[in-house]
């Protein structure tokens, strides 16, 4: 039973973190090779465990391998530490550790000229990986929350990695420190919600173990529907923060201030995937409440749409990718929401399809988004800017990067055979199913969400190819002219591997992935649904829309037959301004934090200074004043003291004499 060693998966990167932190400076690449070795070892162990689990009877019967030790007990609340391996865990830990390994290899090339700071970088990414893998294999929500917070800390440290370049005028990294703070604080809001949700769950279930909760969930949900719904919503609040969903999505574009490898890590393998994973992991809880699932789906759909609009006119290659990540995360959440909605209504097969589509898209997205980010890192490495207006015509100079990124763009745009096509169309399919089968009031919502998802698919194809054409085609502009050619092999090799996955990972659904991502034993038939996609007219519609998007991008940015200035009135239409202002979300955040946050802070400050401090200060000054007054008794004249003593003794003597006399003498 190699599954007994599941705890090693997060433990190895943690040891790497300590080793790199303690003596990484003395090793070549300042600990980079240790980080790679750790991630690779974790991947191999995860692979061995997955192979064993997939061959076991437990997998055949759809149950998880689980083991826990008791951590502590408060009354009859038991909290454990342990591991929990099922199909979802296997998929997650495989792609997380695999992609992290590739990113670490890529970092050797990308971070090569960072000198001593590399040591810090490799230590932090190892800890980051610890957080993600620990979160995946943990056996209860408390353990998950601990690793969740570890990742929050690491994202803060890594996004702020370049905070020392604070004022060099480079727009993208000018304010790494404030981006890090923003990421930390915004996700913190979600984390507080998640913690509140877990408190309620602990109260309701008396345990946070997955197995214990999933067993008794129906009875508990029926007994306390109000509290249960509240806890689910709070838990989803954590997802909104971590997975950058509307309205807390705005930290993710700012997080681009970190090194590109970190963006790749955050967007593909770790961090934002944790939120989606939490929904998938807590799916048995979520499906108890139809309305929460509808809410989840709505948030996902809105996020997908809004983020895609903001990517349309962004000039920063990394920010376009950041918005596309938010948009794709919206797809995953939408799919899980719609699937859970269907499941809750009793359509078990369609519900399982939604669950599968969400997790499947998460996996595919991990591959192509890691590829796209690392490709953009390669471009940035080559021409030293993130502004696409200064690039162009790089195809001739960076053939490998350009080709692999083209694969990534085709995957995310949803062109058939490439991975994104399969999962995205299943997501859109799920929204349609929810519309067809939903209850009266809610069904219309799913029609809107379906429309948003389809429009988003069109926009995705457009902005991804806008990015690709602006970067690699056309005239070489300012920075592209002195680009020094292709990146080193350490950077291109991971790109090639990932391009392969972007091409084929969608086909995994025909080879048993559907069994791994089954929900409560309800596995969908991958082959059947794969074929069904091609009999569905809507699929052709999305393909045509995607090709249309690519075509428009081609005409605008390569052929120049269509002038983008005509649509945005040369950057003066209100829509264009709204998009560059990110729909005023940063302003809204600022307003809220200034008006509300600062107002509350002022009130609290007043209470603290005037009332709390006032009480304490008043007490102490009363004591000091009283002491001052009483100290005047100390005249300093010895005779005064001794006369008081003598007086006291005399009084005592007289008292004693009188007492004795009254009591009847000596």
């Amino acid at each position: 039973m190699i599954a007994e060693f599941t705890w090693l998966i997060p433990f190895i990167p943690m040891m790497c973190f300590l080793m790199i932190g303690i003596f990484g400076r003395k090793t070549p690449e300042k600990g980079g090779y240790i980080a790679i070795a750790g991630a690779l070892l974790s991947f191999l162990i995860a692979l061995a465990i997955s192979i064993e689990y997939l061959g076991s009877d437990e997998f055949a019967n759809g149950i998880a391998i689980e083991s826990s030790i008791r951590w502590f007990e408060i009354g009859d609340y038991t909290l454990n530490l342990g591991y929990y391996v099922d199909g979802l865990t296997c998929v997650m830990m495989l792609f997380s550790s695999f992609i992290s390994t590739l990113i670490f290899i890529y970092s050797i090339g990308y971070m090569h000229d960072q000198g001593e700071r590399k040591n810090r970088y490799y230590a932090e990414v190892s800890l980051f990986l610890t957080g993600m893998l620990g979160l995946i294999v943990s056996s209860n929500f408390l353990e998950l929350f601990i690793f969740w917070e570890v990742m929050g800390l690491c994202s803060y440290l890594l996004i702020g990695f370049w905070s020392f370049r604070h004022d060099n005028g480079d727009e993208a990294s000018a304010n790494a420190a404030s981006a890090a703070k923003k990421a930390f604080l915004v996700t913190r809001m979600g984390d507080v919600c998640l913690m509140g949700g877990l408190f309620i769950f602990l109260n309701l279930f008396h345990s946070l173990d997955y197995s214990a909760m999933f067993e008794s969930v129906e009875a508990v949900a029926a007994a306390n529907p109000g509290l249960f719904t509240l806890a689910l919503c709070l838990m989803f609040g954590g997802v909104i923060g971590k997975s950058a969903q509307f309205p807390l999505h705005d930290w993710l574009p700012d997080a681009m201030a970190g090194p590109t490898t970190v963006s790749s890590l955050i967007h593909a393998a770790t961090m934002v995937k944790a939120g989606v994973y939490l929904v998938a992991r807590g799916f048995p809880l979520y499906v108890q409440d139809v309305n929460v699932m509808l809410f989840v789906a709505i948030i996902g759909g809105i996020t997908a749409f809004i983020a895609a609009t903001m990517a349309l006119n962004n000039m920063n290659i990394k920010k376009v990718l950041a918005y596309s990540t938010i948009s794709q995360l919206g797809y995953m959440i939408l799919s899980l929401g719609a699937g859970g909605y269907l499941w809750a209504l009793g359509y078990e097969e369609l519900g399982a399809l939604g669950f599968f589509a969400g997790c499947f898209h998460m996996m595919n997205h991990a591959f192509f988004k890691a590829l796209l980010f690392m490709g953009s890192g390669s471009v940035i490495h080559g021409c030293g800017t993130e502004d696409m207006r200064l690039m162009g015509g790089l195809f001739k100079k960076m053939k490998i990067t350009a080709t692999t990124m083209l694969f990534g763009c085709l995957a995310i745009a949803g062109i058939p055979i490439f991975s994104g096509f399969w999962s995205k169309d299943l997501v859109i399919d799920t929204a349609m199913n929810a519309f067809n089968n939903g209850a009266d009031g809610a069904a219309i919502w799913f029609l809107i969400l379906w429309l948003l998802a389809v429009i988003t698919a069109f926009m995705t194809a457009f902005y991804m190819f806008r990015m690709w054409f602006m970067t690699f085609m056309g005239e070489p502009r300012e920075n592209a002219q002195h680009c020094h050619g292709e990146s080193p092999k350490t950077m291109t090799t991971p790109l090639i591997i990932l391009a392969g996955f972007a091409l084929v990972s969608g086909l995994f659904m025909f080879f048993g992935l559907t069994d791994m991502l089954a929900f409560e034993g309800e596995a969908i038939d991958g082959v059947e649904h794969g074929i069904e996609l091609f009999t569905n007219p809507f699929t052709y519609m999305t393909i045509i829309l995607a090709i249309l998007g690519i075509g428009i991008a081609y005409m605008m940015y390569v052929k120049k037959t269509m002038d983008p200035g005509k649509f945005n009135k040369n950057g003066e239409s209100w829509l264009y301004i709204a998009l560059t202002k990110r729909w005023w979300f940063p302003d809204l955040y600022n307003q809220i934090s200034w008006k509300l946050g600062y107002g509350v802070a002022k009130g609290v400050n007043y209470i603290d200074r005037q009332i709390v401090d006032g009480t304490v200060n008043g007490l102490s000054s009363a004591v000091v004043g009283g002491g001052d007054v009483m100290s005047k008794v100390q005249t300093g004249h010895v005779q005064d003291y001794s006369s008081v003593v003598l007086f006291g003794v005399s009084v005592l003597s007289v008292l004693i004499l009188v007492t004795f006399a009254l009591l009847g003498g000596f």
């Binding site: 100390q634 004249h637 001794s642």
Partner: protein, 102 residues
């Protein structure tokens, strides 16, 4: 034989003289001497009762008391000498000495 009362009255007179001196004299050395008077009044009482009760314990106490008194005077004089060195006075109600209180 001299009656016991005589001794006790002598001791009482000595004690009161001492107490009066402690409370009224302003010179610290005189105050110390008065304290010795009060101590010795107590010593006389001890010896008196020892003699009249045929009990040697009282005399032993007196020896003890005298040695303690000697030590106490040594400390007192040492403090006074230091105070004198610093403040150039031994007058108890002099502001230079009373300012040592707080």
């Amino acid at each position: 034989m001299i009656p016991m009362e005589y001794f006790l009255i002598l001791a009482a007179i000595l004690f009161v003289i001492g107490a009066y001196g402690v409370l009224t004299k302003s010179n610290a050395i005189v105050v110390l001497m008065c304290i010795e008077l009060m101590l010795n009044a107590a010593n006389i009482n001890f010896v008196t009762f020892a003699a009249f009760n045929y009990d040697i314990a009282g005399q032993a106490f007196v020896i003890m008391s005298i040695s303690v008194a000697a030590a106490e005077v040594a400390v007192g004089i040492a403090i006074l000498l230091n105070a004198y060195k610093l403040r150039k006075t031994t007058e108890l109600d002099d502001a230079k000495l009373t300012s040592m209180r707080w």
